[in-house]
């Protein structure tokens, strides 16, 4: 009970400050940053939205850290909203009182390579089995995958193990097979894609959204014959996909509600789409 008290007190503190905070997924962070900045600039102060609200400047902070950090920040009550770009496990849900999630859209992990890599010309599609061999480090050179490819080292790029993407990829593609340790670990999706754009021999699981933002600079491959397209992702044919979520605990207060409504509004969905993801609506 004491803890409850503490929690509500905590909430009050946040309310008094009237600053709202997001923490978590680096995939979602740019979307939310963009949205909240637009929101804050559009309304300036809360009372412009509704005269009953205080005449205080709208302040919203966004920090990254990965999906795990997002869940964690809600469990600990460190921020108002958690950004998560993977399914939240039941174990985690159990730790959050009054768990609530808002789905913004869906992202897919596309298997992406550098345009300088001939693979997309040589092979129409890559199989899950081949993916496992590549990412587990069994294939070391491109010509082991296909003899028409050059004898050059495969450069694996992955997210760090705290990232949501890594969990999704492990579960949906690798299964029990371990991802090789000889990988470049990128601290965010942006960094991962930047690496693939730079390195001719790189391959990694790039976020669908980020790939769309970098059209032409990076090539997504078909997996088991399925192309990562909006339709295939919605229909579930393209399997390596993940939800983009905002999570909260307990009852959300008035300000939080206004913000969530804005994010899930049509305007919000437009931004989600513009960022290359598949919006929830």
């Amino acid at each position: 009970k004491d803890k409850d008290m503490a929690n509500t007190e905590e909430k009050d503190k946040i309310k008094i400050g009237i600053a709202l905070s997001f923490k978590g997924s680096s995939t979602l962070a740019p979307v939310i940053t963009k949205l909240t900045k637009d929101f804050a600039e559009k309304y300036q102060t809360w009372d412009k939205i509704d005269a009953s609200l205080p005449n205080k400047k709208i302040e919203i902070f966004v920090s990254g850290g990965g999906s795990g950090a997002g869940v964690k920040s809600i469990i600990d009550g460190l921020s108002n909203f958690g950004m998560v770009s993977r399914p939240v496990s039941d174990k985690e849900k159990a730790k959050i009182k009054g768990y609530k999630e808002y789905k913004l859209g869906t992202d897919a992990l596309t298997i992406a390579v550098n345009p300088g890599n001939e693979i997309y010309k040589v092979k129409d599609s890559i199989s899950s089995e081949e993916l496992r061999k590549i990412f587990s480090g069994e294939y070391k050179y491109w010509d082991e995958l296909d003899s028409r490819l050059p004898h050059e080292e495969i450069v694996l790029v992955t997210r760090d193990i705290g990232g949501g993407a890594h969990k999704v990829f492990q579960k949906k593609v690798m299964g029990d097979v371990k991802v090789s340790e000889n990988v470049i670990q990128a601290p965010s999706m942006g960094a991962l894609v930047a690496k693939i754009i730079e390195n001719k021999n790189a391959i990694g699981y790039a976020s669908f959204g980020v790939v769309n933002q970098n059209k032409g600079k990076i090539i997504p491959l078909k997996v088991d014959g399925v192309e990562p397209t909006k339709e295939n992702i919605i229909s579930g044919k393209y399997k390596i996909s993940r939800p983009l979520l905002i999570i909260t605990d307990g009852e959300i207060d008035e300000l939080e509600k206004i913000l969530i409504d804005y994010i899930t509004s049509d305007e919000g969905m437009k931004v989600v789409e513009k960022m290359g993801f598949v919006p929830a609506r």
Binding site: I14, G17, E59, F61, G64, G77, G190
Partner: protein, 276 residues
């Protein structure tokens, strides 16, 4: 007979010097040349903008944020380091206590900044349940630069001719008066340069505020209790996420310019005071 004798040493010496100069010019030249085009009045005074954030617009919130972080850090470290160094040099007589304090300070000086960041995150943010803010980030930075300042202050105090201090005492003047009327006027130049160098360190550090105070985006901070952007972190994100190389160059150049200004401050101050 000896002109050829030490040829190797001569070559090595000259090569090292030239190599170093080359690197210096390369680094500064690289960033200045590439960054000068990104810098404009608007780059300095605008918020980051564009899509993803940072591709357009400026870095004003990050500049203000960095300055706030640095100020908090310097004030925190200055108070504690001044007190500690004065205490060790002028008040504490027990050698064991002195070496214990020095040992602790040495150990902290040896802790990598990322581990301090880790401490700040776990203790301040998680255990004490403080929100990440300029204050928390600044304190972690302050802890990082505390040993740096303390060691330099102490050295500077110890370098004051012992005879002067004894002469002062032997006129029946107490320690406080001696410290403020003689020791500080002698040491202030060293102290200033220590502070400005420490400020530099704090300004450029990313690891300690990564989890304790800096965020990807925040408007210009209104109070010490809100989080803020910081230049090095902004630069890191611009680079690692491949958001905008152009703005990254600009940000790096701004960081270098601040460095130059902060290094110049003590020099200007002493010139203004009209001493050598």
């Amino acid at each position: 007979m000896s002109s050829k004798k030490h040829l190797l040493i001569k070559i090595w010496t000259v090569m090292s010097g030239l190599l170093f100069l080359t690197v210096v010019i390369y680094i500064f030249g690289f960033i200045i040349i590439k960054g000068i085009n990104s810098i404009s009045y608007r780059f300095i005074i605008e918020k980051p903008d564009g899509f993803p954030l940072g591709t357009e617009g400026g870095i004003f919130p990050a500049i203000v944020g960095s300055i706030c972080f640095t100020l908090v850090a310097v004030i925190f470290a200055l108070i504690t380091a001044f007190a500690t160094s004065v205490y060790i040099v002028f008040y504490e007589k027990n050698e064991k206590v002195k070496s214990f304090i020095r040992f602790i300070i040495g150990t902290i000086a040896g802790i990598p900044s990322i581990v301090l960041g880790l401490f700040g995150y776990s203790f301040l943010i998680v255990y004490l349940n403080l929100e990440i803010s300029i204050l928390t980030g600044g304190i972690v930075l302050g802890i990082m630069i505390f040993p740096f300042i303390e060691v330099r202050f102490e050295k500077s105090f110890l370098e004051v001719n012992r005879g002067l201090i004894e002469a002062s005492y032997s006129m029946g003047v107490n320690k406080f008066y001696t410290i403020f009327n003689m020791v500080l006027p002698i040491c202030y130049r060293d102290m200033l340069s220590a502070i400005s160098m420490a400020g530099n360190l704090a300004m450029g550090a990313t690891a300690p505020i990564l989890f304790t105070g800096a965020v990807i985006y925040a408007p210009v901070p209104k109070s010490l209790f809100s989080p803020a952007m910081a230049l090095p972190m902004h630069l890191y994100i611009l680079i690692s996420e491949g958001i905008s190389l152009k703005n990254a160059y600009g940000t790096a150049l701004v960081l270098l310019m601040i460095l130059l200004i902060m290094n110049g401050l003590p020099v200007i101050f002493t010139m203004w005071k009209g001493e050598d």
